[in-house]
Symmetry: C2
């Protein structure tokens, strides 16, 4: 049970105890729960699990920024969604698109994804990285009034370090875009690019005479949510996770995938119940919460389990 | 220039010196060639680069084993290619399918891939692992007369360790199937599953009431060769490689991708010119050899640069 002092922003509640007990068991060679270090894999959703996702996922705000630029350059786009919402910063329309998705209605999400798909067509992976970092340097949260780069949940970052101190390999496995997260995932979470899993735009190899480039297509390769999450986790890691954390219905398959008939798993579900310090909502998480109750997943209450939510910015 | 003693199966030739000089430069903080450890990524093709690929890629022999089983169970398959070749162990037909592919004719390869696609339909990833390991335990090379699991090139395994000793992260990036290589890549090469990149069959998430499973579709997701190689390297790692090794035309894009306008790269091309100890052929590697000559890639001659090819089995 090494390094539990790392979990200093967690209150001394059953959630924290459950984490420490689980990690202690799989790390104890004398325990029947022992798991070899190589198989100690932990995967975490990003939006709503490692950082705030309300009123809209942060990546959407970046994409709005880009779409507003595109609408500025091409006036014919201004009366069409999602460019209209982008130009007017209509967070409600955009937030609802995600909630509708989690409820099975993908119409607005498809409009959004279509615009996301074409927003970066022909851009190289390196230029995209620079765009993300340039935007993130100045962008701030419209409700929390702190820089987006300070919107990571401190207790979750501590949990990543705690797991690593117990020989876990930690990964992000998010519905968000893989290459959007990669440029800042190390600074915010300590997670390097090779351990960031997410949705992906298709890529073309542009073999110019001199330098080669990888450039984005105007086509998503896969949307890493729901049943795609375990597929993408396997594709990247080649092992089942032993710890899986999420916060919404889209994380259910990944959390279920962690357990096997031979061994248990730690499944964490972040419950957003703190309107004072963050947000309070369960829309899009109803099935996950129900499954947590019926299958003994560990619900992590922002209000009750976390002493601190955000770092001082 | 740490750990060069690890390269003990390499003769003292310009190839070895070139490797040591390059690694020494990128590892030397005082050098203008210095590269941060996190960006020291090395990727290697597998078939023909890390182990023998003649008379047919070893994975094909595994697939033949499986296809012969299927043909045994379903007699209508026996007169059709590639089942006919599989049942008769017709290595010539199969080897030529790959050579034709490298020359731009994908007809026979498509037949093969179609059969590969359907050979494991509905099988779980864990069952597939067990199949691979069970087969590999007894399968041996038809020409080299040694167990397949002893067909790795000792100097290349030493090179992997040498690079790791100099803070490189090493990856396999092969046209072969990712999940075929994963079960044995650690034992043969010291490469864990999360650092094995390759072609992939599509996967479905089977969320049965109790245990969940990932099962293979009868459909390839992507064939990791040619321009797909840099795409897959980026998808998995999120960085350009600094060292890239291959042996055929299909590796050219990956080797080209390693260099940028800002920094050099070490590109290694294994030349099979040792009919006594391994094989001698250049079919399917002509363009790569030409590019090596014109662009200063390091050609590694099996005959001249390697003191030992295989470990005692």
């Amino acid at each position: 049970m090494a390094a539990e002092a790392l979990l200093e922003s967690w209150n001394d509640t059953p959630a924290r105890t459950g984490i420490i007990d689980f990690v202690g068991g799989v790390s104890d060679e004398g325990s029947s729960d022992f798991v070899l270090p190589a198989d100690r894999v932990a995967v975490f959703d990003n939006d709503g699990t490692l950082w705030s996702e309300k009123p809209i996922p942060i990546q959407l705000d970046f994409t709005l920024f880009r779409m507003a630029e595109l609408a500025e350059a091409d006036k014919s786009l201004r009366d069409r969604q999602p460019y209209q919402a982008a130009a007017g910063r209509d967070y409600h329309w955009l937030g609802e698109a995600m909630v509708k998705h989690y409820h099975g209605d993908d119409g607005d999400l498809r409009l959004l994804l279509g615009a996301v798909e074409s927003a970066f067509q022909g851009m190289s992976v390196e230029s995209f990285q620079a765009e993300v970092l340039g935007w993130l340097q100045n962008a701030s949260h419209p409700v929390l009034h702190r820089p987006y780069r300070s919107c990571g949940f401190v207790p979750m970052v501590e949990l990543l370090r705690y797991l690593e101190a117990n020989d876990f390999s930690t990964y992000i496995a998010s519905g968000g875009d893989r290459d959007f997260m990669r440029p800042f995932a190390y600074d915010i979470y300590g997670i390097p690019p090779e351990r960031v899993i997410g949705s992906a735009l298709g890529l073309d190899f542009d073999d110019g005479d001199d330098d080669t480039r990888l450039v984005y297509k105007s086509k998503i390769e896969f949307f890493d949510d729901g049943p795609q999450k375990p597929v993408r986790v396997w594709s990247r890691i080649g092992r089942r996770p032993l710890v899986a954390g999420g916060n919404s219905n889209g994380d259910i398959p990944m959390l279920r995938f962690a357990r096997t008939g031979e061994r248990g798993a730690l499944r964490l579900l972040v419950l957003h119940d703190d309107a004072d310090r963050e947000f309070a909502y369960t829309a899009g998480a109803e099935d996950a919460l129900e499954r947590a109750r019926s299958h003994g997943w560990t619900v992590v209450s922002v209000r009750d389990d976390w002493r601190t939510v955000f770092a001082d910015s």
